[in-house]
């Protein structure tokens, strides 16, 4: 049994399974929902399997040439701690969102949702497992298109408007990225990351490539000031889609940036790190203040994403001196944000469905009818604020510690302010749980499945606060960091 478990090529399962079930669910829509949830469940197992293999069979990095064709001709897969981190986030959030979607969509919408959703999962997993920058482009484009289609799923003017902005932003981002890839390929004759890592030098072509790829990815990751498309797109999408967009899709762009930074660009540029850190800092403050000013719940959560993504970028200037602890912090922040933010959007979806609106001021009566949803929002909020006990707290602690070690008071200050502002906007919503308000009549039905899906994700974000040591060991980021330090 264990033997079988260890020999299944889990990396391939992660890509091919959702692709296959996506197509099946398109052809047999009646079994789509069951198939989707089953796929999500198997993906969780597959990630566990891959993690196990990385640990015990491959010594931290897994390389697989599909069909026996390696670089430069074939498609190669690559997995290490960083991939594992993102795959884990995808699997967990994917599970929660799939369960939630079981009862969220009506028949007609479900018909369209499930195939695209499974394609999106396949694209995400493939992206996190790509070993070369061209495959990254292909998966990124697939991901973008799937995400835009899902955003438009809600129908109506707001959704289409949001989706349109999103489409333009994502296409522009991919285009920049592709130009960067072309420059690198032209200069070094390879798209394989490992090969490029050995060859890159600080030439104008590489600088331009770095600029283009950087801008493309920052746009997709919605880092300030390129976040303009995010709030509307994320707020107008259906709840499970908002959850996926905020939790996973923007992090895919962050992943690409980080991956290329670690192996290609980081060693070449120190001022780039400072710039990213600065943008991250502004994003935290700007996003938080905007979140605080919102009157609609989903917009508030979307702006909170703009702020939270900033924390991930604060790490760049810190990583030069303490790579492992910084990237551990980032891993924790990214994972707990994924879980908590997904939980928040799902909870907001419940409130919106139940009350028919998401005006924060009038939420009182709605929240009190859905105690489980209120809990989901509250627990997710704790993690977003970075209060203990939660994954968010662990991440914030690690990042603060690194910043203080290096006496980076500017970053410390931003983190503290960001935490206070986050508390302000989370409690702005939570305060209404306790108002004595007239109980509103329900306009749409919220099932227990939907409530529990949101709550489970929020609880998972809490649980992260207690398993830091084994989890960080399981991710084994020192391998990833080790590679980048050798190339320095």
């Amino acid at each position: 049994m264990q033997d079988m478990f260890s020999h299944i090529p889990w990396a391939l399962v992660l890509i091919l399974l959702p692709l296959l079930t996506g197509m099946t669910s398109f052809l047999w829509p009646r079994s789509a929902a069951t198939l989707g949830v089953a796929t999500a469940a198997i993906l969780v197992i597959a990630v566990a399997g891959l993690g196990w293999q990385l640990h015990y069979l491959y010594d931290g990095t897994y390389h697989h040439a599909v069909g026996g064709w390696g670089a430069p001709l074939g498609i190669a897969l690559h997995a290490d701690g960083l991939s594992l981190l993102m795959l884990t986030a995808t699997a967990l959030v994917g599970m929660g969102v799939s369960v939630y979607s079981l009862t969220y969509f009506d028949r007609e919408k479900a018909l369209r949702f499930w195939p695209i959703w499974l394609f999106l999962l396949a694209a995400l997993n493939a992206l996190f497992l790509s070993a070369d920058i061209f495959n990254l482009y292909v998966t990124l484009e697939l991901l973008g298109l799937a995400a835009v289609s899902l955003t438009a799923l809600a129908g109506g003017k707001a959704a289409l408007d949001g989706a349109m902005r999103y489409l333009l932003a994502t296409l522009l981002g991919s285009l920049c990225y592709l130009l960067g890839v072309a420059l690198l390929y032209h200069s070094y004759g390879s798209v394989d990351i490992a090969t490029l890592a050995q060859r890159v030098e600080a030439t104008p072509a590489v600088w331009s490539a770095m600029g283009l790829i950087g801008i493309g990815m920052l746009l997709k990751a919605a880092l300030f000031p390129l976040h303009f498309w995010l709030p509307r797109a994320h707020a107008s999408a259906p709840a499970p889609v908002s959850a996926v967009l905020s939790a996973l899709v923007i992090k895919a762009a962050f992943y690409i940036l980080l991956r290329l930074w670690l192996s290609l660009f980081g060693p070449l540029s120190e001022s780039g790190a400072e710039l990213l850190g600065l943008l991250g800092a502004v994003a935290i403050l700007w996003g938080s203040i905007q979140a605080l000013r919102q009157v609609r719940l989903k917009l508030l959560i979307a702006y909170s994403t703009v702020a939270q993504i900033g924390y991930l970028f604060l790490a760049f200037p810190l990583a030069a001196f303490a790579a492992l602890s910084t990237w551990n912090a980032v891993a924790y922040l990214a994972l707990s944000h994924a879980l908590a933010k997904a939980a928040m959007f799902l909870a907001a979806g419940n409130l919106l469905r139940f009350g028919g609106h998401d005006r924060i001021r009038d939420l009182g009566g709605v929240v009190q009818r859905l105690p489980l949803t209120a809990w989901a929002f509250a627990l997710a909020g704790v993690s977003i604020m970075g209060l203990p006990p939660s994954g968010g707290f662990i991440g914030k602690w690690l990042l603060l510690e690194t910043a203080l070690d290096q006496a980076r008071w500017d970053l410390v200050l931003v983190m503290m302010l960001g935490g206070l502002l986050a508390a302000a906007y989370v409690f702005k919503v939570l305060g209404y749980i306790f108002t004595e308000a007239d109980i509103s009549h329900e306009t749409g039905e919220v099932t227990k499945t939907m409530e529990w899906a949101a709550l489970s994700l929020a609880i998972a974000a809490m649980v992260l606060g207690f398993i830091a040591v084994p989890l960080l060991e399981w991710l084994g980021l020192e391998q990833v960091v080790g590679i980048s330090e050798i190339s320095q």
Partner: protein, 499 residues
């Protein structure tokens, strides 16, 4: 597997698990809820009694769980932690009984008792925390779990108070977090150690250490309601009486004061703190808070608000005792942690009884209330005299030790503060007693709920009588083994000063 390694964790879980179950209970399942509550309290008290005996005999109870690389979640039972655990667990029992009576028939009781249990969990965690990060964890949990209780009634005033409470406590939490991480990045450890763990650091860290001290004390001072961070406490009085009684007289403010004790004695060490020159300003601030709180209390007509300002003033005694560098004053400060809890909870219970039975909220409405509710007012009288510092009630012991300690260390100005505050205490408590006992009652009370031949429901009357009796008892029997005073001496010997 060693059983002793799990006792502290079980003490924490004994209120956490019932609390989590209570949340899921339907509103009308009163009996299940009460059983769960009492089961939790009694289990906790049993475990605590076990630990008291063990610790007295130099036994170690310690739970360690990995939290972060190189940082553990540590729960450890030492003499100091046990003092606070006994206080909160014991008063939790009484307050639970009181709350069951007080909230009978009101909405959202499952939510209330759920958060109530979480609060006690957090308080006990704060008490047992064996290092600063564990302390921080439970300290923040205390913020999160008290907020729902402050806003429990859901009125506009309650929500405003909740907002103020959050602004203060979240700010405090941020200061504490920053100070803690900073300290960790300098020392590489956060373990509470008798006589402190930073004495070995060189002079180059001096200014950083002073900043850290300020950050930590600011973070803790918010909950301890130290001037100028006290603003939330009077406002939080909109909460239901059991919340004011247990949390705002005991758990929350004491968590702050307790944290200051930990920081001064077991993080910095009193010698190092004194050498850094931070104890004298702290003593000055505490002395100012004592006088300031008392003066503000004089001008309050709302009974609970007067008590709240009195709390601000009284909690500062604890901090004053700590900041006077010397063993005798320290004993006074530590023992006041216990004494003040007993006396203040009595007063708040009584205020709740007046409100619940006769709808009396203001002091000006209390004329002759002693005739209608003699038992309640008797308990109130004991509490008030204790606060003033009249022997043989517990408060006298505290003031005696504080005064002695001040004289011993040659800081005579503190005697003036003590005399001044006792006078002020008398000025704001005696008129209440005079009104209640010697003025003619009005023809009719605002509302007069009847409870047969008793003056009020037994669940409301019993707790203040018990706490008042204990307050007299610990004063009379101060030198009997296991009395709070003797225990405080034990703490001072084992943890604070070189023997």
């Amino acid at each position: 597997m060693n059983w002793d390694n799990w006792v502290p964790l079980l003490v924490v879980l004994s209120s956490l698990l019932p609390g989590l179950i209570i949340f899921s209970l339907a509103e009308q399942r009163v009996r299940t809820r009460t059983t769960l509550n009492l089961f939790g309290v009694i289990t906790k008290l049993g475990l605590v009694a076990l630990m008291v005996w063990g610790v007295y005999n130099e036994h170690h109870y310690e739970t360690r769980l990995e939290l972060l690389p190189n940082l553990e979640l540590v729960l450890r039972a030492g003499p100091l932690s046990l003092l606070f655990v006994i206080l909160s667990a014991g008063l939790w029992l009484l307050t639970t009984i009181y709350a069951i009576g007080y909230l009978e028939g009101s909405p959202h009781r499952s939510r209330f008792f759920g958060f109530f249990s979480l609060c006690v969990t957090a308080t006990v965690g704060v008490a047992l925390a064996g290092n600063l990060i564990t302390f921080l964890l439970f300290y923040e949990l205390l913020t999160l779990s008290t907020y729902p209780l402050v806003v429990h009634r859901g009125t506009l005033a309650a929500r405003r108070a909740g907002q103020t409470y959050l602004i203060y406590t979240v700010f405090g939490g941020a200061c504490l977090l920053l100070g803690t991480v900073w300290l960790y990045s300098i020392t590489g450890t956060l373990e509470f150690t008798p006589r402190g763990f930073i004495s070995g650091l060189g002079d180059e860290h001096r200014s950083a250490l002073i900043m850290i001290f300020i950050l930590l004390i600011t973070g803790l001072g918010v909950k301890a309601a130290l001037f100028p961070l006290h603003g939330w406490l009077p406002q939080a009085m909109v909460a239901p009486a059991p919340v004011s009684a247990l949390l705002h007289a005991v758990a929350v403010v004491k968590a702050g004061a307790f944290g200051i004790i930990r920081v001064v004695y077991e993080v910095f060490g009193i010698g190092t703190a004194a050498a850094l020159g931070v104890t004298t300003p702290l003593a000055g601030l505490a002395a100012f808070t004592i006088i300031y709180g008392s003066i503000r209390a004089l001008f309050q007509d709302d009974l609970k608000r007067r008590l709240a300002f009195s709390t601000i003033s009284q909690v500062a005694y604890i901090i004053l005792g700590i900041a006077i560098v010397g063993p005798i004053a320290t004993i006074g400060g530590v023992v006041h942690l216990f004494h003040q809890g007993l006396m203040k909870i009595t007063l708040f219970f009584c205020a709740g009884n007046l409100a619940e039975t006769l709808e009396i909220h203001k002091i000006s409405e209390m004329n002759g209330v002693g005739k209608r509710m003699p038992w309640t007012m008797a308990a109130f009288t004991i509490g008030a005299f204790g606060m003033i510092g009249a022997p043989p009630i517990a408060g006298f012991i505290t003031k005696w030790y504080l005064g002695m300690g001040a004289v011993n260390t040659g800081q005579n100005w503190i005697i003036l503060v003590l005399i001044g505050s006792s006078l002020l205490n008398a000025m704001y408590f005696l008129p209440i007693l005079h009104r209640a006992w010697f003025l003619e009652p009005p023809k009719s009370w605002p509302v007069d709920r009847q409870f047969g031949r008793k003056e009020t429901a037994w669940a409301l009357l019993l707790p203040p009588l018990v706490t008042a009796a204990i307050a007299v008892g610990v004063g009379l029997l101060a030198s009997v083994p296991f009395s709070p005073l003797e225990w405080a001496k034990l703490i001072s010997q084992r943890e604070f000063y070189q023997p």
